[in-house]
């Protein structure tokens, strides 16, 4: 087939507004605040990347956005409507694969339409198109355990995309893949995003991933998480990895983001965080080299 001629269905991209959201876990006295007074927008049709130290409460935010949990305070609205529960409008691609092991790749991708009774010829064509886009047409009959880690991640992207969500939420989807595979994933994913023009919200701890993918970069503080800074990544699309590495603007943004993350790490380091110690050391060495 090569490049398929079927275009992605036109979907109204959604916009999410998070205002004053807090989230605590546990009973009264022992309760731990994970998200504190968080306010940000996930802009329509853009790829917003959230980056912050690991364990900073990003995954909690994702569960709130997906509707698996409710905020302790504040509101989250999608296109003006408050979020009340999980919905196909806000699909989550998880950190670890959540492909159903008992279904073939193709059945996994078709899960959503089938569950909703929307399995039309058009949907099947779209599924073919997506399968092609993520390079898995030869693996359609394979079960998830027969796929490599990278293939599983791609199958999962396709499984989410077919539902035409107004917002796609991705929780460190490429974590744990080796560096080469990761870069391949970025290009696959960036291609899908650029073509679809949808709203995407992508959470990561990887600065290179963040700068390569993002239209907007939200930098989070350490736990309890808050938005520390917002950077616009005004690097033209479509982006190639080589361009990004060579781009002065991208490197400038990366340096700025790193210095903010460094400040955050210093703060938590002074509070005794061991994880932050690694980051501070790494940052110091990196700065010494340049």
């Amino acid at each position: 087939m090569g490049e398929s001629s079927i275009p992605l269905p036109v979907v109204a991209a959604g916009e999410i507004v998070v205002s004053g959201v807090s989230k605590s876990y546990g009973a009264a006295q022992l309760s731990k605040e994970v998200v504190r007074d968080c306010t940000f927008n996930i802009e329509r049709g853009k790829l917003t990347v959230m980056i912050g130290p690991s364990g900073c409460g990003k995954s909690s935010l994702i569960r709130l956005l997906a509707g698996f949990e409710r905020p302790s305070a504040g509101t989250i609205k999608i296109d003006g409507e408050p979020i009340t529960g999980p919905s196909r409008e806000r699909l989550v691609v998880f950190q670890e694969t959540a492909l159903f092991p008992w279904m073939s790749t193709f059945d996994n991708i078709l899960y959503g339409p089938r569950a909703r009774g929307e399995l039309t010829q058009q949907t099947l064509d779209f599924a073919e198109f997506l399968l092609n886009k993520v390079g898995l047409q030869e693996f359609r009959r394979k079960y998830p355990t027969q796929l490599s880690g990278g293939m599983q991640r791609r199958a999962e992207l396709a499984r989410a995309m077919i539902n035409n969500p107004t917002v796609m939420i991705l929780d460190e989807p490429f974590r744990g893949l080796d560096a080469m595979t990761k870069e391949l994933m970025w290009e696959y994913y960036a291609g899908l995003v650029e073509e679809s023009g949808r709203t995407n919200f992508f959470v990561t701890t990887d600065i290179d991933e963040a700068v390569f993918l993002a239209d907007r970069l939200l930098i989070m503080s350490n736990i309890p998480t808050q938005v520390r800074a917002v950077l616009e990544v005004d690097v033209p699309r479509p982006r190639r990895l080589a361009d990004i590495v060579a781009s002065d603007r991208a490197n400038e943004i990366k340096t700025e983001a790193l210095s903010i993350l460094h400040e955050e790490a210093m703060k938590s380091f002074s509070r005794g965080s061991k994880a932050a110690a690694d980051f501070v050391e790494a940052y110091t060495r990196r700065s010494a080299k340049t």
Binding site: P86, S87, L91, F94, A98, F100, Y111
Partner: protein, 289 residues
């Protein structure tokens, strides 16, 4: 293909294992003859000091040799009563086991998906579960109109508890993310049950069934021995393999006891293999890695 080579190798090992076992058994069994030789005097003295009979090796020396068993087997293989015993036991296992699956799987799933059902059903289940199926034999002879039904019931109990426990455990250990993913994509409750819970529990159902099948054979044999093997308990016909063994014991035909034992081993092996084939058929994703 390397996989063929591997399976040929493992078949060869299997054959060596069985031949070696039979050889040692034959040797041990014939100790009555060779242990009298002078070179074995120290061995005889040691055994005697330990309180065993000096005339043959302990245990294995008292058992009929494989050659004698084979001869006895050749004698019964044309006997309709012997095959009738096979049929009876097989039928009872199948009846009890099928009933346990038909009732146990839905019951286990109900307990797993419904909190109220779990709250009401599980405590009673947990109190009844530790009662060994064989303790039910006298009671079930009173409950059920025919002896055939009492044996089938006890057999059913043998598999039922294991299947239920495995189904409940399996359904509860399905990864939370699968539910979240299915929910996000717009699944109804029924859809989640049918396409997530059911396939997600299948591996545990098969494990529970395999264990249950083993227990079923244990139980059916014991039940046949205790109950005298069914209503028309004369001859070797209607009693099943358990009664076949018991009858051979009472009749003093020791070779036939071993014939009966090996028959049960073979029957159990066939049942397990059939179940394994079924399991591989219904859970293809576990096979293809």
């Amino acid at each position: 293909m390397s996989s063929n080579k591997f399976s040929a190798k493992s078949a060869a090992r299997g054959a060596v294992s069985i031949i070696l076992f039979l050889l040692l058994w034959e040797l041990g069994s014939r100790s009555r003859h060779w242990i009298g030789a002078d070179i074995f005097t120290p061995l005889r003295e040691t055994l005697g000091a330990l309180g065993f009979k000096k005339t043959y090796l302990p245990w294995v020396g008292a058992i009929p040799a494989p050659s004698e068993v084979a001869a006895a087997w050749a004698g019964v293989i044309t006997d309709a009563g012997y095959w009738q015993s096979w049929y009876k036991s097989m039928f009872r296992v199948l009846a009890g086991f099928t009933a346990a699956m038909l009732i146990g799987i839905p019951f286990g799933l109900l307990l797993a998906v419904n909190r109220t059902a779990f709250g009401i059903g599980f405590p009673v289940f947990e109190v009844l579960r530790p009662i060994p199926p064989l303790a039910w034999v006298p009671a079930s002879i009173i409950f059920w109109p025919t002896q055939e039904m009492s044996i089938a019931f006890v057999t059913f109990l043998g598999a039922f508890y294991t299947i239920v426990i495995n189904v409940v455990g399996g359904a509860k250990s399905i990864d939370q993310r699968y539910f979240q993913a299915a929910q996000s994509m717009g699944s109804s409750k029924w859809d989640i049950f049918r396409r997530i819970i059911l396939p997600g529990t299948l591996p545990s159902i098969m494990v529970g069934s395999a264990v249950g099948m083993g227990i079923t054979w244990e139980v059916v044999v014991a039940a046949e021995m205790i109950s005298g093997g069914g209503s028309q308990a004369g001859g070797t016909g209607g009693g099943g393999l358990g009664f076949f063994i018991w009858n051979s014991y009472v009749g003093g035909s020791y070779q036939q006891i071993v014939v009966g034992m090996i028959s049960i081993g073979v029957a159990g092996f066939i049942s397990s293999e059939l179940l394994r084939a079924l399991g591989q058929y219904v859970t293809p994703w576990l096979r293809l890695r």
